[in-house]
């Protein structure tokens, strides 16, 4: 159903390197509107670095990350500011700003980047928190939340500016199976009800099978992507290492 959808982001010939050591090269793929794309691979294969390239936190050694026709790494400040409005990011441990309450965390992007009046900001922030099931956490400090709640609050913050694309770094890492399943459910609901496109880096094969439409496998031996397709198809007839990887279901 997503075959014909126009690409939201195109990655062209991307090469990632730490210093002189090339981690991945020749990455070419699209992020399609409305899909859930999971980026998987062994530890150290460059998943999180790829995410940092996709959100423009780190410049790739070569290649382009195109939002429409605009290369993220060539954009001037004003274009970059516009491009950044199009995606939200959840970092691995949530990365909520620890000096503010959860509510202030969600309101900050609204305060800085929209002319929303204060009362309206609070209502919007409470609404975003309600979307992730945390309407009562508005006044709390991030340190008072559990790991799973912090991640959900971070998703609420990422949703603050109504992005069409959500990047999630390891949404289920460090969570108990119940919280992880709840987060998987949240991802699917966001896609279903808000139409948000989701790109997630994941270690959890179960989570990938539960939510991802397509799976991008970064191979640590060949140092490039060796598969990009529906997880179930890849588990049956993907390349050998991908099938082996997908057999390692982590939760029964």
């Amino acid at each position: 159903m997503h075959e014909a959808a126009e690409p939201l982001v195109r990655v062209v010939g991307l090469t990632m390197a730490f210093g002189d050591e090339v981690v991945q090269s020749g990455l070419d793929f699209d992020i399609r509107r409305g899909e859930v794309l999971a980026i998987v691979g062994a530890s150290g294969c460059g998943k999180s670095t790829l995410l940092r390239h996709l959100i423009g936190l780190q410049e790739p050694a070569a290649g382009q990350v195109l939002y429409g026709d605009q290369d993220l790494n060539q954009a001037d400040d004003e274009t970059l500011a516009v491009l950044r409005r199009r995606f939200g990011v959840m970092f691995q441990a949530g990365a909520l700003w620890s000096s503010m309450t959860v509510g202030e965390n969600v309101m900050l992007p609204l305060r800085l980047f929209t002319p929303t009046p204060a009362a309206e900001r609070e209502r919007l922030a409470r609404w975003k928190l309600a979307l992730v099931g945390l309407e009562d956490a508005f006044e709390l400090e991030p340190a008072e939340l559990s790991g799973g709640m912090r991640k959900r609050a971070a998703i609420a913050r990422a949703l603050a500016l109504d992005p069409e694309l959500l990047y999630l770094d390891e949404p289920s890492s460090g969570l108990d199976p119940f919280s992880a399943a709840r987060l998987d459910g949240l991802i699917l609901n966001l896609r279903r009800h808000l139409g948000t496109t989701v790109v997630m880096v994941s270690h959890s094969i179960d989570s990938v099978f539960a939510v991802a439409d397509r799976l991008l496998y970064l191979d640590h031996v060949e140092k490039t992507m060796t598969a990009l397709d529906a997880p179930r198809l890849l588990a049956e007839r993907g390349p050998e290492r991908v099938r082996a990887f997908l057999r390692r279901r982590d939760r029964a």
Partner: protein
């Protein structure tokens, strides 16, 4: 079949025949700290079998496995093929686990860290200096944005930092500068008394404290109290990806985190230094009156006479500069800290050391500068 014992000790016997090597363990292998039984030289070559046999082993315990492993591991690494099938299970199983299978690829471990050579040390120092220069440049750009009203700075952060740098620093500034003033008056008085010039103690204390010491001591105190806190705050924010979260939104961490801290320190600096100078000068009173018999009104009058505008503004400018350096060192180390707890600790220490170093360099340079300007 030709058989020849090449090494025969109480613990092992190595023999070699057409099929390869035969390692017979013998005697009592109990206990730790026993000497490692030697391997023959030249030992088993790559591809040669080494049959390990424990039939002659009279007694052994769990320390036998690591001992045997220490003997076999180098052989396996050089390509020999130990055959453990004749060993008792309890000995064989852990050894099979610990000895890598032939042809197994080793994990790709990073090479040794921290090259300790002089050249590498110089290169690290140079990179560190470049980072600092780039950081100072970014702060300058950020100040420019602030002046044009384009920087996103959090007002409540500024207020909180004002409180941390100012009022909360007062007790320790009071104590330190009081003791410094006291010592200066006491020691200065002891020297001046020898030439009967006790009445000049006021000049020594006033000029010393107002022009040099108040700023210096306040800078040192803030380096430990506030500079270190900056490094720790920003360092842990970085470790927690909070800085990345700001940047992903397009918020410049320099504007948002460094500016309020730097400006709060610069705002508080002149006030704190003036206060520290006042405390220091007044602290000269007890020794001057009590020990050197100078009347209090005379001391205070002399102080007032010695205090020129030049001394005052030089003291304030220098001290404010030190405190600015403290804020820069703290923020620079915090923003460029590594991403683990260890690195945040290191950044905190480095922030204080750097701040003190920069203060001393700035103090020397400015003293020479103002002297040569004749001020």
């Amino acid at each position: 079949m030709k058989s020849r014992a090449t090494v025969d000790t109480q613990a092992v016997s190595w023999t070699r025949d057409a099929e390869g090597w035969h390692l017979a363990l013998q005697g009592d292998w109990r206990g730790q700290g026993l000497p490692l039984p030697p391997a023959p030289a030249p030992g088993p070559a790559a591809g040669e079998r080494v049959v390990v046999d424990a039939r002659a082993l009279s007694a052994w315990d769990r320390d036998a496995a690591p001992r045997l492993w220490a003997l076999l591991a180098p052989l396996r690494r050089s390509g020999a093929l130990p055959d453990l099938s004749a060993l008792p299970d309890a000995l064989r199983a852990p050894l099979e686990l610990a000895l890598p299978a032939p042809g197994a690829t080793a994990d790709d471990l990073p090479g040794p860290h921290a090259d300790s050579s002089l050249a590498a040390g110089l290169r690290r120092w140079w990179e560190d200096a470049l980072t600092t220069a780039a950081f100072v440049g970014e702060v300058a750009l950020s100040l420019g944005r602030l002046l044009r009203g384009k920087a996103v700075m959090r007002g409540s952060d500024y207020v909180r930092q004002l409180d941390l740098a100012g009022p909360l620093s007062l007790p320790i500034v009071t104590l330190t500068c009081f003791l410094i003033g006291l010592m200066l008056a006491y020691m200065g008085g002891a020297q001046l008394q020898r030439i009967g010039a006790q009445s000049f103690i006021a000049d020594v204390v006033t000029v010393g404290v107002v022009r040099e010491l108040a700023g210096l001591m306040t800078g040192v105190i803030l380096a430990g109290r506030v500079g270190a806190a900056f490094a720790a705050q920003l360092g842990s924010m970085r470790a927690n990806e909070e800085i990345d979260a700001l940047r992903a939104l397009g918020i410049d961490p320099i504007d948002y985190l460094v500016l309020p801290r730097l400006l709060a320190m610069l705002t508080m600096a002149p006030l704190l230094i003036a206060y520290a100078a006042l405390v220091g000068v007044l602290a000269g009173l007890p020794p001057v009156v009590g020990i050197y018999g100078v009347p209090a009104w005379e001391y205070l009058h002399k102080c007032r006479e010695a205090l020129t505008w030049t001394h005052l503004w030089i003291g304030l400018v220098k001290g404010t500069m030190y405190i600015g350096l403290v804020a820069l060192a703290g923020c620079r180390e915090g923003l460029h800290a590594g991403r683990d707890a260890q690195s945040v600790g290191a950044a905190t220490t480095t922030a204080v050391v750097k701040a003190l170093l920069w203060i001393v360099v700035a103090a020397s340079a400015s003293t020479v500068l103002f002297q040569s300007l004749g001020l």
